[in-house]
């Protein structure tokens, strides 16, 4: 088993973990978005509440969700550790720094990641924790009692500062993805004259469309109530 440790502690192996966990988190974003867009259905929250019940009750999904939390933590903690190692490897800074050598996002992935992590804490504290703590109201659909997470979402997104926090978090996510998406493929060594432009194109579309689609939810709910 020594070889696994050697591989995963080498500079390229450490980056491999960042790349694979990052790409997995991208697929999570898609699934999470598809579920949450149900908040915009004009059905008083039935579809969303039933979905929330399914997501918290199904044992397989529960198992996957704990895997997801582990990978988020791994990506975040390892990312911060690598950023600090990299900073030490640079040693000192230049008195004059050149402009135009690499994008701002690519040089500030740790900062953007930290912003996203803070956003996640606010986000999970508001909804995930509320769901766990069992202090939500119940609604009944066809005789089945379901927690009314929809109402909790409506209440939260009535406040402008919560909507603003979401915008900041999603903007950081967009910048993080703008570098991270195609960078993950480069780390895996997947670079090709024909396919890399396609990967980069998909990366740009993904990084801009997904955060915008997420942002529509709090904005729409805010304006429907204010």
């Amino acid at each position: 088993m020594r070889w696994i440790i050697n591989l995963l502690t080498s500079s390229i192996g450490l980056k491999l973990v960042m790349s694979l966990t990052g790409l997995f988190l991208c697929t999570f974003l898609l699934a999470h978005l598809a579920g949450n867009l149900q908040l915009l259905y004009n059905d008083g929250g039935e579809a969303f509440n039933l979905y929330a019940k399914f997501m918290t009750g199904n044992p397989l999904i529960k198992f996957i969700s704990y895997g997801l939390y582990t990978l988020i933590l791994l990506h975040a903690v390892q990312g911060l550790v690598l950023a600090s190692i990299n900073k030490k490897s640079k040693g000192s800074k230049y008195a004059v720094s050149a402009k135009g050598n690499g994008s701002w996002a690519s040089k500030n992935m740790a900062l953007l990641g930290t912003l996203i992590l803070f956003f996640l804490l606010i986000h999970m504290g508001d909804f995930w924790w509320a769901m766990k703590r069992n202090n939500l109201e119940y609604v009944t659909y066809d005789g089945v009692e379901v927690k009314n997470l929809y109402k909790k979402v409506q209440i939260s997104f009535k406040e402008w500062y919560i909507v603003l926090a979401y915008m900041v978090g999603l903007f950081a996510l967009a910048l993080h993805l703008l570098h991270g998406f195609s960078s993950a493929f480069q780390t895996l060594g997947l670079r090709h004259k024909k396919y890399t432009p396609i990967i980069k194109g998909i990366g740009y579309i993904f990084s801009i469309l997904i955060p915008i689609a997420f942002a529509i939810i709090p904005i729409a709910i805010f304006f429907s109530q204010n």
Partner: protein
């Protein structure tokens, strides 16, 4: 032309350095290093300590000259070493800031001179062909496709100057190491040992204290030989497949 130079002065490895201001009268036909030579002659005649900087061939091929000029290794001109940068790119009254390479694996020896043996150690770890290739054969005895030969040649133009690690915000040596890996593994003679080579060279690179590549791309912008980060993808690919496929 009259220039103001802000030059990093540092007595030795452990001393604390700082930027010092100098005035120099330069000619537009001079190379950047000749301009520094003029300043040094001035300093010597003033009985002060001349500025230490590395240089050798002054033809852009040896990789000795370094310097970070206004924040960019080898200065502002694309695909050019410091020695090939000419003063005609500057105008009268300009202020130029000159600093040494900054990366933990390249400690400052004095003023603008850094110790770049870490790159030599990466080469020593496996950047060569050790199988017996016999007598020099006819140039066309081993057929190599044109495009592949060109890629190998592009990678082989790396002069090992260290600009990539100096430009990298992480002080990473990935562009250098990847160029050395690519130029050997693309060719039949280098292909033979490529799996053990890539693992040894990456292990040495990590040992030297270089940072990790975060795909910023600053290295390829400042590389005087315009080595592409395509090579870094190749290095990642080769390293991962060699590590996963090896029996140890």
């Amino acid at each position: 032309m009259k220039l103001k130079l802000q030059v990093w002065r540092q007595k030795n490895k452990n001393a604390k350095g700082s930027l010092k201001l100098y005035n120099v009268e330069a000619d537009e036909h001079m190379s950047f290093l000749e301009m520094l030579d003029v300043l040094n002659e001035q300093l010597i005649s003033d009985k002060s300590d001349p500025i230490a900087f590395d240089h050798d061939c002054r033809e852009g091929i040896c990789g000795s000259c370094s310097l970070v000029i206004d924040g960019r290794p080898h200065g502002p001109q694309q695909g050019t070493t410091t020695c090939q940068l000419h003063m005609r790119h500057y105008k009268d009254g300009d202020t130029i800031t000159i600093e040494p390479y900054r990366a933990k694996a390249f400690p400052i020896v004095k003023d603008l001179v850094t110790q770049r043996t870490a790159y030599d150690k990466i080469i020593q770890a496996g950047g060569y062909v050790s199988v017996n290739t016999g007598q020099a054969v006819d140039g066309n005895a081993i057929p190599i496709e044109g495009g592949i030969a060109a890629k190998a040649f592009d990678a082989a133009t790396c002069i090992g100057c260290g600009a990539c690690a100096a430009a990298c915000p992480n002080g990473s040596a990935m562009l250098f190491t990847s160029a050395k890996i690519a130029h050997l593994s693309l060719l039949p003679q280098g292909q033979i040992e490529h799996k053990s080579r890539v693992r040894k060279m990456v292990a040495q690179m990590d040992k030297e204290g270089f940072g990790m590549c975060s795909n910023v791309g600053a290295c390829e912008v400042d590389c005087p030989k315009e080595i592409s980060t395509d090579n870094i993808a190749r290095l990642n690919r080769e390293y991962l497949s060699a590590s996963l496929g090896a029996e140890d």
